[in-house]
Structures are given as structure tokens and as C-alpha cells.
Amino acid sequence: MSFDVTFQEKKLKSVGTRPLRPDGVDKVTGRARYGADFNMPGQLVARVLRSPHAHARIVRIDTARAEALRGVKAVITAADLPDLTDGNASLFAVLDNCMARTKALYDGHAVAAVAAIDAKVARAALKLIKVEYEVLPHVVDVDEAARPDAPIINDQVFTKGVEPTPDTPSNVAARSEFGHGDVEAGFAKADVIVERSYKTEQTHQGYIEPHACVASCNADGTADLWVCTQGHFVYRQTCADLLGLEVSKLRVTSSEIGGGFGGKTHVWTEPVALALSRKAGRPVKLVMSREEVFRASGPTSATSIDIKIGATKDGKIAAATSTLRYTSGPYADTWAEIGAMTSFACYDLENVKTVGIEVVVNRPKVAAYRAPSAPMAAFAVESAIDELAHKIGMDAVEMRIKNAAKEGTRASYGPVYGPIGIGPTLEAARVHPHMSAPLGKNQGRGMACGFWFNFGGQTCTDLNISADGTVTLAVGTVDVGGARASLSLIAAEELGIAYDNIKAVVADTATLGYNDMTDGSRGTFSSSMATISAARNAIKVMRERAALMWDIPVEDVYWEEGQARAAGSKYGNLSPLSVKDIAAEAGNTGGPIAGHSELVADGAGVSFATHICDVEVDPETGATSVIRYTVIQDAGKAVHPAYVEGQYQGGAAQGIGWALNEEYIYGEDGRLQNPGFLDYRIPVCSDLPMIDTQILEIPNPNHPYGVRGVGETSIVPPLAAVANAVSNAVGVRMTHVPISPPRILAALHDQAGT
């Protein structure tokens, strides 16, 4: 049955309300089971041995003594894993990151792993593995790595995207370019030009739950994996590809997930746990320590960005360029390209050019982090636009309104926008009481805009109607922040029944068709689309059953407010049949009633936000506190507004942490100095004010209820909003994130000439 995704304006009863989440009681009583909360009979404990060197050739690994230790059941190195050296390059990189084959490429890179009867034996075994390294020169800084004389990390990397392809290897893996118009001509017309370079340091998603899994490989080729992941179907495919398993024989169950933010879209230790289990013939539990999480999973790119923007006196941007250098860890990736695509996406520009430069470094492989690559680009661009507005003498909001993209604008990265929310969020900011609130001594206000693409992708949903008329909804997108509540609302809306009569679960890979990850803000967007489709399919079945029960043609049965009704006056005396009525008779009318849906959720609808931030800076110490913060963002349609607000607030908090204090700090030896929550400083409760939110609803034309993804955009503006606020408070432009107290104080002293 074809499914019409077009937005249709109608009054919604369930969608837009704020019911209690279905997994709430489990989560407040400690019963919800996360990655590390699962155990299997005969389970072993695994530990991973990691390189202490930022860059080193692995000369020899001697595991004999570890293998001989009583209680050790398996030891593996890369030699125990398939050799993908001459195969698919991206799969090779994924596996090489899980277990280094020839070289350790960063401090924390896995080189061996053990499975033993308990943690104590596993720890003792790790100490018995002898690794002989040949330490190589390393490079961790983005600008230093891009220099021609930098130590080469991978001699097979030749810069892609330049003509002709270089014949010497370098750490610049690729160059990409986007834009249109003639920027030189544009700059020639500009009255005022701002040209500046910016830097952002590497941050971590900082999910509170470390990666954890239990893997069990059986002798018959079947295997089970329990894991905290944002995408169990993708983990299944990746692990099967890496280890040569049959996809359908590997059953992956996603546990409750204790935060991911993109970091749990990549496999880290899961293939290692499976390989250990396969070798040991027993289930294996592998839980990363917090130190391992920081050293060897998920950071975002460190960046170095050059911006040039020119405008005429009336505030109209005449031309804009950006060059963005992003680290990707030791393997080539496309993070700078994404940054280049997003950098000017908020604006309607005649002449624009953006260049992305991918740089490999001796740091952990970069993983997605909430609107990956966009916050750094927005920091640079929104800082420059703020400065431009100051130079022209124009209000920062007015300047942005004058240049904002709108329906029909050709984005700097190519597409032409449909109805979008950048203009409305700016208009809302202009009149928001926050904008006119008085500021005290040492206080400053900043604002900034942000963009994110959003994503749809492959989605599959089952909706089963039980004999008592209650409904189970099985979805395949992992619930990272309340999606089961939102999807239950969607099913309730479509079926016309009460929210409480629906139980939503995340199905495992054996019980539902393939689903892409919960990434790209797609969870609620795409699974709601599939849920609507599944519900409509179930309604079709229920109409047929009602027709049978009434013995009338199905064309004369229509569905309204959760009931089958007979159309026309000739059936005037037939009382409507509820879901419960129809379900009770299912056994006599054709068996179980269900609705299924498989689709590719296209048309995710781009997302925009405007943030306003007030800070107070102690001019004697550089200490900064955020004293007021407002998020204004387009949700398309807020399905469960409380959890939409939660996404806005959570993204803002992560962005504030990034702006002020969070950073990976490396020593001269290339080792990470702060792999823990003590010195990797994410915001604590007393660091933040209440975070005000304003939800705008500009319907996405490609979703029946107008829903857009809401998860990621909220992390895009804060770096710039905070930087602009600090710069306005202290009178010095801050160009290096995080804007930590020593950096602020140094900038103030430079300005004072002391």
C-alpha cells in the first residue's frame, strides 16, 4: 500500500501532549537494564590492552605467558581477526581501530585483548602480554599535521580532491569544495570585511554510560550480542562484515542506552568481544573503563578555521568564504566536508565558497557527535558575523535577519530550501524578553544561529493489536531520549485510541526488519513515519474485520476516532466497533491483527535554531558563568514537547561545556592528559542556569504531521553564542574554544599590553 507522507494540517489529540514516558518507572527504580546490566551463564570478563604510545610500529606481541595463566580462556591480537588489508578500505579502518594490526596510531589504541574467568585474572593476564614497540614521531595538532614536514601517519594517504593527485603521501586526506557565485567580485563590492582564524579543541560526547556488551558465539555459527548502541542493526551488519559472520545468525539486542550523542554509532569493542567469545567458546562481557572511553572512543574533530566575510554598509553580505581543517583521528574521513557544507547554511548568499580539508592525526578515530562538524563551523562563522555587525554598527539579530535563508534560497552546499525556520527563529529572538533584559557589570550578551541537515533513512515498524485491544509497537530505532513516548503518541493519534493502551518497545535484530541508526535526528522523525504507515495498515485490516463482522462491503466501513463506522444511512443502526471490539473477534475473522511498515523516510526537513546567551566574566580571573540562556528552535511539530525541550536544553548544555571548558589535552609525548571526568570538565549542575526554550512549529512538508528531527541542532549555536557573549562582556574577540579562564585572562592582558 502506498503511503502518502505529505503534511496535512489537522487537529491532533494525542500528539503535542505530555504523557508519562513508558520506560519511566523502570528508570527511576533502577530496573532498566543498560549495557553493563546483563549477564550470561558461564560468562567471561574481557579486558583490552592499549598502546601507551601515540604512534608506534608493533614489532612483536608475545601472549604466551598470558595464555598460560590459569583462568585465561582466550587472548587475541589483530592476528586472530580477519586480515582486511587488501579489502574495503573503510572496513579495514574500522577493524584496525578495534585492534591495531601493524601500528598503534594513538595513545589508547587497542593492541590485544583477553577473556578470563574474572576481572582479577584478566587484569593479571594483561600484565603478562609483552608488546615490543618501535616508537615513531607523532603529531596531534591539526595545523602541525597538515604541514608538509609533519610525521606521516599513513603512507597510503594521498590527498583526494585535488588535481593532480599528489605523488607524495601527506596527512591531508582530502579536500572538498562547495559554493556558488563569484566571491572575489563579491568582496570587491563589500564596504566592510572581517577576516579571522579560529580554533576549536577536541571534545568528547561524554555519555555517562561507558561502552558495554556481552557477546556469545556458538559452535553452530549463531551468535548473540547484547550492547548499548544507537543502532543494533548497523552493529550487526558491521560486526558480521568484519568477522565473516552470517548477518541473520547474529542477533543483536540493544540494551537501554546511557547516552550516545553519536558516539555509539560506531563499533569499538564489540567485534573484539565477539572474537574473544568465538575463540573461548564462552560468552564474554566487555565493559570499557571511563579512561578507555576517553582514550579510545568517540571524540569529535579538533579544528582550525579561516573565515572571510564581506558586507555592504546596509548589512547585506556580499561574499563569504571558509576554509575548514578538521582532524579525523588516524583514518581518513569526511568531517571537514560536512563542516564545509554547514558553515554558511543559515544564509542566503550570492557569492560563497567553502573548503573542507581532512587531516589525519595521532588521536582517537573521530566519531559523530550531535550535529557532527557543524558546531565548530558555526562558531567561526557566527563569531565573524557578529564582528561584522559590530563594525557596520548594526544590531547582530537584524544583520542576520537581513541575510537569513528562506524558502527558495539556494544553500551554499547545493540544495534549494523548502519552508524553513531560520527567519522565524530570528524574529522570535528579536522580540524575546531575553533580548531586552538589562545587563549588569562585567556581563555580556551574545546570540548565534545554527543549522543541521537532519536525516531519514531506512525504517521498519510492527504494530500488533492484542486480543484486548491494546497495542504493542515494535520499533527498530533505539530510544535515546524518550522516543518510545513520542512514538506511542503517534500510534495513539493515528489509531484514535488512548496513549495508555500502547506499549512501545525497541525490537531486536531477529524480530524486525533492518533499521538505520538513531542518528541524524532521525529516530522520532523516521519511526513516526513508519508508525503512521503501520497504523494505517492496521486500520485497513480492522476495517476489513469490521466489514466481516457486519457483513457489509469494506468500502462502506470508515475509521474515525478509534472506531470502525459504517458509512451511509442504510447502516444507521450499526453501532461503531472499537479496536477492542474488533480485536476480541480477531480469532473468528481471520486471525491476529497487525500493521507493518517498511520505508525509506526521505524529506527529513532541515532544522534551524537561534540561541541567546548572557554571561558574567570575572575580569580578574577569567571565570565565566552563564547567567541566562534561551533556545529557540523549529521542531516542525513537537510530538512530546517536554522531550523536545529536553533535547534543546541538553544540546545547549553540551555546547556550553564545549565553549567554556571541555577539551582533550595532550602532553608532549602525545598521551592524553585528562582521560576522566575530573579534568575533562563537562558542565555540572551548579554551572548552569535554567535553560529557557521556545518551540517553533514550521511544518515539514514531507511528514504527515509536519515533524522534523530535533535532537542535534541545539548543540550548533552555543559555541558562538557563548563566545559572542564573552567577547561582548570583556571587549576582546575570543577565537579559541574552549574559552577557558587562562585564555580569557591572556586575551585581556594582551589587550591591556601587560
Binding site: 527511576v28 537501554e256 545547549a652 549542575c685
Partner: protein, 160 residues
């Protein structure tokens, strides 16, 4: 190294267990007693996900040895509800959408309960500083603070 026999009271019940001398109370709760509500987010006392009440003071169970529990009284998240009746804080966390992923929630609840026992009418700042050792990466803390404020109001008998 040989195991130590420990007798203690957990959530009002007499509990006996054996543990290794270097084993933490968190490992004992999770791996020996099946009390999986306390989570290990860091193992170094920096995240508060394993917050547990020991003789009336909230502590990180990852920084207590199992052997230290001898003769002492322990309260965990599993003991917070009275049977089927949720504690007001538990209800208010759900009502205010004060959790997203929920991994930090047990720790926040245990810590907030300890706060309201010593300070039934805390200011926003008092709540924020008391909870500063409990990290949440999802919510930005806004709804958590509101849930604690609302629960405190209800527990003081004020109409919400």
C-alpha cells in the same frame, strides 16, 4: 588474598556476602547481590551514578570497599520506593521529564533524597550545588532541578 565475610543491612534487610579485600561496594552490589540500579559511570567518584547512602550519608559506592560495609546500613535506589508506591522524587522525575537516557537517574534520586532529608526547603542554588557531583549529559539539569523542587514542595505538604 582471601574473601572476607561481611554482614550488613541493605534497604532494611539483613544481608551477608563474601568479598575480596580490594572489591568495591559498587562491585559487591552489582556483581554479587544483583542490585544493578547503581551504575558505574567512572569508577573514580567523579560522576555520582553509583550514589548510595551509607549510614545516612550519600557516598559513591565505587569509592567504598565492600569490606567497609560490615555492621553498617546501606540504602540503594532499589529501596527507594515503598513497595509499589514510588517515592515523590521518583514520581516527579517522570512527571517533569527529568530523565532522557536515565543512566544517571538512580544516582540523582538517591542524592536528592539525601538532600531533602537534611534540607526540606532548599533553594535552587542549594539543589544545584548538592547535586554537582551527579553528572547528567542529556538534560542540561533544568528539568532535574524542577523535579526536585516540585518533590520538595509536595513532601512539605504544600499544594503544587
Amino acid at each position: 588474598m582471601s574473601a572476607i565475610a561481611v554482614s550488613t543491612i541493605i534497604n532494611g534487610d539483613d544481608v551477608e556476602f563474601l568479598c575480596q579485600p580490594d572489591e568495591t561496594l559498587l562491585d559487591v552490589l552489582r556483581n554479587r547481590l544483583g542490585l544493578l540500579g547503581a551504575k558505574e559511570g567512572c569508577g573514580t567518584g567523579d560522576c555520582g551514578a553509583c550514589s548510595t547512602i551509607l549510614d545516612g550519608r550519600v557516598v559513591c559506592a565505587c569509592l567504598v570497599l565492600g569490606a567497609e560495609a560490615e555492621g553498617r546500613t546501606i540504602e540503594t535506589i532499589e529501596g527507594m520506593a515503598e513497595g509499589k508506591e514510588l517515592h515523590p522524587l521518583q514520581r516527579k522525575f517522570i512527571e517533569h521529564a527529568a530523565l532522557q537516557c536515565g543512566i544517571c537517574t538512580p544516582g540523582f534520586l538517591v542524592t536528592a533524597k539525601a538532600l531533602l532529608e537534611v534540607n526540606p526547603d532548599p533553594t535552587e542554588a542549594e539543589i544545584r550545588f548538592w547535586l554537582a557531583g551527579n553528572l547528567c549529559r542529556c538534560t542540561g539539569y533544568d528539568k532535574i532541578v524542577r523535579a526536585v523542587q516540585d518533590a520538595a514542595r509536595e513532601m512539605r505538604g504544600e499544594v503544587a
